[in-house]
Structure formats: C-alpha cells, structure tokens
Amino acid sequence: MQLGSIFLLALLEGLVSASVLALTACGLSLVFGIMRVVNVAHGEFFMLGAVLAWFTASLMPGPPALTFVAALVICPLIVGAVAALADMLVLKRLNYEPEATIVATIGLLYILQQGALTVFGPNALPVPAPLDFRLQFPGFGYSGYKIAVILAAVLLLLGLWLILTRTRIGLVMRATQIDRATARAFGINVDRVYAGVFAMGAGLAAIAAVLIVPIQQAHYLMGADPLLLSFSVVIIGGLGSLRGTVVAALLIGMVDQMIPIFMPVVFPAYGAWFTPTLAKIIATLVVALVLVFRPQGLFGKRMA
C-alpha cells in the first residue's frame, strides 16, 4: 500500500472510532455535567442498545434498511426508559450523593450485563448493515456503511448541540446544571429534568451502539471498552463540556487508529511495537497527565 492510501485508511478508521466515541462520551458528559453523577453503568447502556438493535432487527420483517431505521428509533427510547427508571428508583433515593451513586451504578452495570446474558444469551449477535456498498480506494476497499456512520454521528451531534443551546428543554437543563436550588425556586421540576437527562445520556450511548452494531455485532460483554474510552474522553475534554468531549473524542479516536495503522509503516523496523494496546496505554497516560496538570480538562471550567 502507498503511504497516501494508508493515511486515508487510518483517517477513515479514526473518524469512525471518533464519531461513535463522541456520541457515547457526550452521554456520559451530559449526565456528569448536569447531575454530577459518575455513571459507571454507561457502557452497559451502550451494550443494551446494541443487543436491542439485534432483537428489533431479528423480530421485524422487511429489508435491513427498514429494520435498522426502526432499531435506531426504538432502541434509544427503550434504553432511555430503563435509565429513567433507574434514576427514579435508585439514584434519586440516594440524593445523588457522589460516592453512593458510583456504587449504585456499579451495581446497575452488573444487573444490566447479567440481565442481557440471561435474556439474550452469550453469543455474538449479528445485525445486517442497512447499506450494502463498498468503496474502492487505491490500495484498499472500504465499507460504505462506515462512511454513513461518520455522517450520521455528525448530524446527531449537531442536533444535540441545537437541543442544548436553542430549545427550552436545553435552557431548563442548563439552568439546572448551573444551580439546582435556584432552578427549583423558579419552578423547574428538577426531579423530572434529572430523570430526563439520565435517559438522554443512556439514549445517546444506545444510538452510538445501534450505529456500530452492523460493523461489530452485539455481545453482552461489549460495554467495557466504550466505558473506558468514554471516561478517557470526558476527562481529557473536561467533564460536562460538550465541545471538549467532541475534541477529545477526535483525539482519542485518531490515536487509537493512527498508531497501529500508520506508525508501523513510518517505522517498519519497530512495527511490532505500535499495537492498539500501545494506543490505549498512551490514551490512559494522557488521562493521567491531564488529571495531574489540568484536572478540569482541556475545555472544562474550574469547579467552585
């Protein structure tokens, strides 16, 4: 392969990684920014979205494109409902105390993971891609669906930004984020906002999962990686900052693909060193450095 082709491949793979990661991490960031809840079960909402996408696609008759669009609408709603329920039944009753909610969401992680195992079984569950075409670049072929994933993620992130900045719902959410007590004094139903935000965060993870599942298949253990990477992203970007989350997702997604794809070609003698594991090590190291030197993240505001 030519250097240019390899660079293009790394760029495309990096963008696919980054776009799915950005959606997932935005959900995590939203929940932390507004509710101050560190949601350890976030990866399991991702997994649940993927598994439900398989369930929807395998139950519904019709062409893959139709069942996929149905899954894209239905799955985030179901996952959001599960999350809202968890918020009302568990998190609210713990008064959103930081330590208690971490432990509670760890519990939630196991309940969701083992629940998915019990109901849907331990197998990898394939979902057919809604688009079946391949692009042939010089030196390599590329799935057309992956390009569609990048475009869909850009549109969804744009939509999220519009909701947060241009709608009344977004205004209420931002008000609650800035000062919960004052928001309540102004007649905002904070309980409902919290349930809604938790549902929205989980729903974003579910959307990301539905997008990725025709590429990767659904599996009950798939939640660990997105959780780890999402945490890296929100810590680097700044917890609660949407812009920071997107920038950090691009950074991590690119590092994750550029290092194993591009570096072995640039330094062929040391090719074996540049594994995806090295990329993860570097990402984690960046997280540690950010925590030490800029704990609020690259784009986060210093907390009072």
Binding site: M1, I6, L9, A10, E13, S17, L117, G121, P122, N123, A124, P126, P128, A129, D132, R134, L135, Q136, G139, F140, G141, Y142, S143, I215, Q216, Q217, H219, L221, M222, D225, Q257, P260, I261, P264, V265, G271, T275, P276, T277
Partner: protein
C-alpha cells in the same frame, strides 16, 4: 429416670421408629451401602457456557449430552449409569480452576473433561495435579504434548496445533504460495500457530514474512491489515472469540474488488458463523483447515452420519431445528470422542471409584490407537501415552458455491513429531 431407659415406653419406641424411618426416607443413610458400584459415575464438564468461548460451549454441551445418551443406552460404564455435571467457567482461567475444584471436591466427580480455550486449560491443569483428579482437555493446544502440564492432564480426543499445522504446511506452500503472512490471536493457542506453522513453512522452503498478533477480545480489525506486506502470497488466518464474523468481513472489505493474496484459514475463524453471511462472498475459492468437515461430504462414513444425526446437525453443519445456529463442527467431536475414551479407559482399569483414578490414567496411557467408528467419527487416531496427546487426520477444504468441499486429507504420519516429554516417568 434410669427405669425409663431400661424399659422404654410405647411412645418412645414409636418416636424412635418414626425418626429412623424419616432418616431412611430422606436418604441420609447411604442408599447403595451394600453395592456401591451401582451408583452413577459422575463426570465433571468444564464448560465455556459464557464469555468469549460461548459459541463453542453451546455445542460442546450438546455434543457431550448426545454422546452421554449413546453411552447410557448401551449400558453405561462398567454396568453403571453415567452422569455429566456441566459447570460454566466463563471462559476464564481463574474461574476455570475454581470450577475444577468445585466439580472434583464438592460434586465428587470422578474426573473432569471438556475445556477448550488454552488459557483456561493452562490455568486449570495445576489444580488437577494438586487434587490428583484426571483432567481430559479438548483444547488443540500444544501445551499438553510440550511437557508444560502434568501427569493428570491428557488430550486424547483432538490433535494438537503443532501436529495439525505440520500436516498442512506442505499443502499451503505447494499449492497456494511460499510467502506467508500470519494473523493469529495473541494468546497461547495463537502462539502455537505462530511458532509451529512458521517452523513447518520454513521446513518446506517457504517463509513467514509477517506475524500479526491480535488480542482475542478485539472488536475491530481493519487497523491490523495494513501490516500485511504487499509481496504476501498467502494470508494464513486463525481467529477466535465472539468477533470472528467481524474479522472475516473486514478482511473482505479491506481487499474489496482489488487484487488479494490467497487465503488459507483455520476453521476457527468461521466456527459458529454461517458462511453465507452477507459480506463473506469473497471467501469463495479460499481454503480452510477443518478437523471435521462442516458440510457433509459425498463420501461421509456411516459413523459420521450417525454422529451428525445424534448431535442434531444437518448436512450444512447447522442445528437440525435452526439453520442459523451453525455448529463448531471442527472442534466439538472431541468431547464425543473423549467420552468414549473415558469409557474405554475406565473399563480397562476396572474403575470403581475415586481410589482408582491413578489406575484410570495408567490405563489411558497404555492406549495406542483408536479405530474410526461410531466412537471416533472424526477418523482413526493414534495416542501417545508418553506425551498424553492424540494424533488424527486433518482436512483441507475449499469454499465452492458457498459450501466447504474437502480437497485434501493428511495422513496420520504427516502429523507426527518427536516426543518432547515423557509424562509416564513423572510421579502421580
């Protein structure tokens, strides 16, 4: 008071009788006190029911259960009924050792068998030696014959990787190409492929020009493919875990409609995956190793037909009642054959109970070959008691019109190599 003890009243006698009767009814006294050998023989099965080996686990359980029915219908072992206790190890080495302990000490199983994934086998084998309980693995790994494990661990039901790749390397270099790029999972099983296939190719005058290791839990693979050198003539791929379908699909996408090297895969890359899945069309014309052909071949033996029906697999290698549920056909025969070997070794050693475990291992070590038949549907095998390893024939199949058709079969001699250990000299 003393008077009462000597001459019990009617009431105390009745109470005592009732208590004794209840004790008998609840089974607190041994039921077979006079004939211990009529109790069932209990075999523990270390099952990958969940975790990354779940697809294999599902079929290992079905195959072992089908074999158990055949054994019990024919009168069991030594005239005693046989039970299998399946216990999930989550395809995890730590859990594997715990499960082994539970089966051996709490459930009092006579022996434990059935594990496939090499990290689970390597993690569990020391526990088998500690507890002095036979451990019969169905793993393919070279770790048994290499001398890494112990006297209590044996692999009589499936050929090891070293022998498999040595048998097939000549076909690859003579028919497909001499410059090979290998893609394999980055753990013990994959390392066996890396080390022994590289050596076998070199012995044939070929060369492995790239070794690409991928973690078995990986979910995306495209990023590994640019490391395949441009001058590669054959890609040798072997992958395991839940993402195998993604792996083959992305390999096909990567080359697209452009020129690509020849493909030689280990069936592991496609186990439990329907070869007609969308995106796998590019596999047409490529070659696969199979231990046991998934698609029923034109010359299938009577034993093969019997086995296929008993396990509930159709002619295309899927569950008879669900064509989407594809079997792990190239591996699962090992649990069937291992159960019949257990039967043979228990009968040869006159196995009565836990005290005869050592006699069981010695009887198994004395075995030399297994004839093809209903008990060994995959084919004839030789068994080396010194290395605790079985050696069988291998098939190479070509994908033609969406089906795998056998184009080459190795002989028992092709897979032989000098002994690396003599377990029989080790103490129990």
């Amino acid at each position: 008071m003393t008077n009462k003890l000597i001459t019990p009243t009617r009431r105390t006698v009745l109470t005592g009788m009732a208590a004794g009767g209840a004790l008998l009814a609840t089974g607190l006294t041994p039921r077979f006190a006079q004939a211990q050998s009529s109790e069932p023989i209990k075999l523990g099965f270390q099952l990958h029911r969940t975790g990354i080996g779940a697809a294999y686990g599902r079929w290992y359980e079905r195959t072992a259960t089908a074999a158990l029915k055949v054994v019990n219908d024919a009168g069991g072992i030594n005239g005693r009924p046989v039970e299998i206790l399946f216990e999930d190890d989550g395809t995890d080495p730590a859990r594997g050792a715990e499960v082994f302990g539970k089966l051996a000490t709490q459930s009092n199983c006579d022996l434990v068998f059935g594990a496939l994934f090499s990290h689970v086998v390597i993690g569990t084998a020391p526990r088998a030696a500690e507890l002095k309980v036979p451990y019969l693995v169905c793993s393919e790994g070279h770790h048994v014959a290499s001398g890494m494990l112990n006297r209590w661990t044996l692999q009589p039901g499936i050929t090891d990787v070293k022998s498999q790749v040595q048998g097939m390397a000549p076909f690859v270099t003579q028919n497909l190409g001499k410059k090979v790029a290998m893609i394999f999972p980055d753990f013990a099983f994959g390392h066996d492929h890396r080390d022994y296939f590289s050596a076998a190719v070199a012995a044939q005058g070929g060369e492995v020009i790239a070794q690409i290791a991928i973690p078995p839990t990986e979910t995306t693979f495209t990023r590994y493919f640019p490391q395949i050198p441009a001058e590669t003539e054959v890609i040798y791929h072997v992958m395991v875990g839940p993402a195998v379908l993604t792996f083959v699909k992305e390999l096909g996408e990567f080359y697209g409609t452009g020129a690509r090297p020849q493909l030689f895969g280990f069936m592991d890359s496609l186990e439990a995956v329907d070869i007609a899945s969308p995106g796998l069309e590019f596999l047409d014309g490529s070659h696969f190793w199979e231990a046991h052909p998934r698609y029923k071949q034109a010359d299938a033996s009577e034993a093969e037909t019997f086995y296929r029906t008993a396990v509930g697999v159709d002619d295309n290698g899927a569950a008879a009642n669900d064509p989407a549920d594809v079997a792990t056909y190239s591996h699962m025969f090992s649990t069937w054959e291992t159960l019949f070997i257990i039967k043979a070794a228990m009968e040869a050693s006159g196995y009565q109970g836990a005290a005869d475990r050592q006699k069981f291992v010695e009887a198994l070590e004395a075995m030399t070959d297994f004839a093809e038949g209903a008990e060994h549907p995959q084919g004839a095998k030789t068994f080396n008691g010194k290395t605790h390893q079985a050696f069988g024939i291998q098939s190479i199949s070509k994908v033609e019109g969406g089906k795998l058709v056998r184009v080459h079969q190795t002989t028992l001699e092709d897979g032989q190599y000098p002994d690396e250990v003599d377990y029989t000299t080790q103490s129990f």
